[in-house]
């Protein structure tokens, strides 16, 4: 892991990964979208609203995954001063915020016809909203200081403290009574038919590879930003 602390070395690895991630992303979307929208069956109870699941569930998983990356990257930054880990955390925040917002909005669109209301203040929905605010807080705090390093440290601490919310989100449907359906995967097995599980996994693959593409792009932008900053400083010093 420490070998990748050098941004230029990391970018060489990113160059090798990026085309594969783009290819997987396009392939998963090309198969997953028509599969989910047209060829997968409607649910016997929820009808065609179940097609929202192919956006809603991958967004929710990605919202949690991005925060996991952010918290892990922040820990690596605080413990080992790993610069690329901090860049990965910073790069993941806006993508994670977008996925979390997408999860909340599609959940509202699904909730209206199924529950009769777009929103209830239950544990799952509220903890997901808290996750969205944690993302916003992380981004704002990171840019709130005059010295970049101070912002990085403060944001990293917030990311670590906020990671307490992840198990709350995951187990909220088990710990409290809620309108939200339980997890698809449980000790009893999988509660979704294979005909629905296939497009769901394809969309998860599409979202995951999209994340890789965008985060690598954003890490590259941060490396360039550091070079631009240095070039300007050198220019000013002459």
């Amino acid at each position: 892991m420490h070998a990748l602390a050098n941004p230029n070395r990391f970018l060489k690895l990113a160059d090798a990964i990026q085309p594969w991630a783009v290819g997987i992303c396009i392939l998963c979307f090309a198969i997953g979208l028509p599969y989910g929208l047209v060829f997968s069956p409607a649910d016997y109870q929820q009808g065609d609203t179940v097609r929202i699941m192919y956006i809603h569930v991958p967004s929710a998983w990605m919202g949690l995954f991005c925060y996991g990356v952010m918290a892990t990257g922040s820990a690596a930054y605080l413990i080992w001063r790993h610069p690329v880990a901090n860049m990965a955390a910073r790069a993941s925040a806006p993508v994670g915020a977008m996925f979390t917002a997408l999860c909340l909005l599609t959940g509202m669109l699904w909730g209206q016809p199924m529950w009769g209301t777009p929103w209830v203040w239950d544990a799952r929905l509220t903890s997901m909203l808290v996750l969205f605010f944690l993302y916003l807080g992380y981004m704002v705090l990171g840019d709130a200081f005059e010295h970049r390093e101070q912002g990085d440290k403060a944001a990293a601490i917030l990311a670590l403290v906020g990671s307490v919310n992840l198990p709350i989100i995951k187990f909220s449907v088990d710990w409290w009574n809620t309108l939200h359906q339980p997890s698809i995967f449980s000790m009893e097995g999988v509660s979704v038919d294979t005909a629905m599980l296939a497009p769901l996994f394809l969309m998860v693959g599409a979202f995951q590879s999209y994340y890789v593409v965008v985060v690598l792009m954003r890490i590259r932008a941060q490396v360039l930003q550091a070079k631009v900053r240095s070039a300007r400083l050198l220019q000013a010093a002459e």
Partner: protein, 63 residues
């Protein structure tokens, strides 16, 4: 869509807007930074005798 089109399609449109939005902003920011760096480098090359001090300093920030 069995009478639920008004809920299903907006979900996909929101996903499209979100995914494309972040992708385009990220690409634009990357292109802008690359332009800034390209603009700064020739000036530096005029004043220094070769080598890439900006790269060296950027790497120095991140051992």
């Amino acid at each position: 869509m069995g009478g639920y089109a008004v809920f299903v399609w907006p979900s996909y449109v929101l996903a499209l807007v979100g995914l494309l939005g972040i992708l385009m902003v990220s690409r634009r920011s990357l292109a802008q930074l690359q332009n800034d760096l390209d603009r700064l480098r020739p000036r530096r090359e005029e004043t220094t005798s070769g080598g890439n001090d900006a790269d060296a300093q950027a790497e120095g920030e991140h051992p």
